[in-house]
Assembly symmetry: C2
Homo-oligomer: 234 residues x 2
DNA sequence: CGGAGCGTTGATAGAAGTCAATTGACGTGG
DNA sequence: CCACGTCAATTGACTTCTATCAACGCTCCG
């Protein structure tokens, strides 16, 4: 379930510990905030199902999304060591999350170095994704950016077994995409239209179908290396 | 020297360990690569003096910078747990770095939980900075983006004692700024001109002088909270 | 002296934003 | 059951921001 377990082997004991840390499941509605900027939090959230996003509100009221999360991701593992949240987290769709108390996580850093490194790794992959977003935002026009996001989400969902035949559930609104890509909704709409017209994707009823992975990947200059999907000792 | 020590207290033993980990100093010329994309590395680099940057080269040859580093920063602490570098690192100016062997760092994660958390924290702050760059890239026009970068660098340099009277050494080229902000050099030039004309900054001979911090901060919507500068137990 | 690199400026082209309007899906209340 | 409101998707017209192309000056240095 955790993306952690795809990048290194966990011992039976470690698996048991991780499972034992999970608090009770909580249901989050779409558009409901899970964490608010400025809070000091006492638990980290693991996303079980649904899409969630980190975002900030700018002074003109615009929402800028800095990360989109898929099941298996920690939404705010970084809150374990950072003093206050520098962003909010919201459900983009209805979500299920479990809370992992910071006390337990901190205890784990004292007693289980290997698990600690894997949790650390999880935040490092977050950071690698952030860097890639910076690169695509700065270096690509809207079409490349959108194509890259689709490739990335496809790959990340694939890791947790949520794709089949180049298709995945993708019920986000064009508004969400606009806020993530930093472009207007009108422009998102036109950019999607281009991808459709070029026969690269199909997207309707909350279902995304990639029709031509190779060309989409090329437009996006997508290379999954930054997601560090090797399963190796860490 | 490390930015680490500004965010929590280190015991005498911890300070000694950290000092003991430093390998020998290396000098890097401006525009010289320190780490190349795709490498597996065996040491992490700590920047002692100068400016460095993480970057990727896009298929059209453009360079997109995803992070700018100041003295006291680790350039690639994440390489400890990530398999291969997903970006390169270069000196933007002549730099001094010290290498910290991964063997030592990994050993430390086995024996010193508190120091481990502080190293982890260092990468979390990197990530927080990445998020802020995503927000400013997506949400601001060029002037706000540039203003934000100046505010950020001022604040980060202040942490390590490298500013005085709102001035700091800033010998980057406009080309470097263009690659960091994802805009053209011509537009960088015009944007700087605006900031100068508005009496916000002065920048000549590699020296940046902030003339009106309050207005610059306002244009940039800069709030240092994301840099998490509190000195608290972690 | 002459070239290379950087900074600066003007003119023009292209990308993306804003404003406005229309459509369709959906849910609520009468 | 239908009227109505809301929200998202879509499209057109126009504006603004940013890129590109081109030219020129400056400084540094071989």
């Amino acid at each position: 379930m955790l993306s952690l377990e795809r990048r290194d082997r966990l011992s039976a004991e470690e698996q048991a510990i991780v499972r034992g840390m999970m608090g009770k499941m909580r249901n989050i509605a779409a558009k409901q905030d899970i964490i608010r900027e400025g809070e000091r939090v006492t638990d980290s959230c693991l996303l079980i199902s649904g899409y969630a996003a980190r975002y900030n509100i700018l002074s003109d009221g615009a929402r800028q999304i800095s990360a989109i999360h898929v099941p298996g991701d920690f939404l705010d593992l970084h809150s374990l060591l950072l003093g206050r949240m520098d962003h909010s987290v919201t459900g983009l769709t209805p979500c299920e999350i479990v809370l992992v108390p910071h006390d337990l996580l901190r205890g784990l850093t004292e007693t289980h170095p290997h698990l600690t490194r894997l949790f650390w790794l999880s935040t490092l992959i977050d950071a690698a994704i952030h860097r890639r977003w910076i690169v695509t935002a700065g270096g690509f026009p809207a079409q490349g950016q959108l194509a890259h996001l689709i490739c990335e989400l496809y790959t990340r969902l694939n890791v947790v077994g949520l794709v089949s035949d180049y298709a995945f559930h993708f019920p986000l609104s064009q508004i969400d995409l606009a806020d993530a890509l930093g472009i207007s909704t009108v422009h998102v709409n036109r950019t999607i239209k281009e991808l459709r017209t070029q026969g690269l994707i199909q997207w309707q009823g909350g279902q995304m179908q990639i029709l031509d992975w190779d060309r989409l990947r090329e437009i996006a200059q997508f290379d999954a290396a930054y997601l560090d999907l090797e399963c190796i000792p860490r």
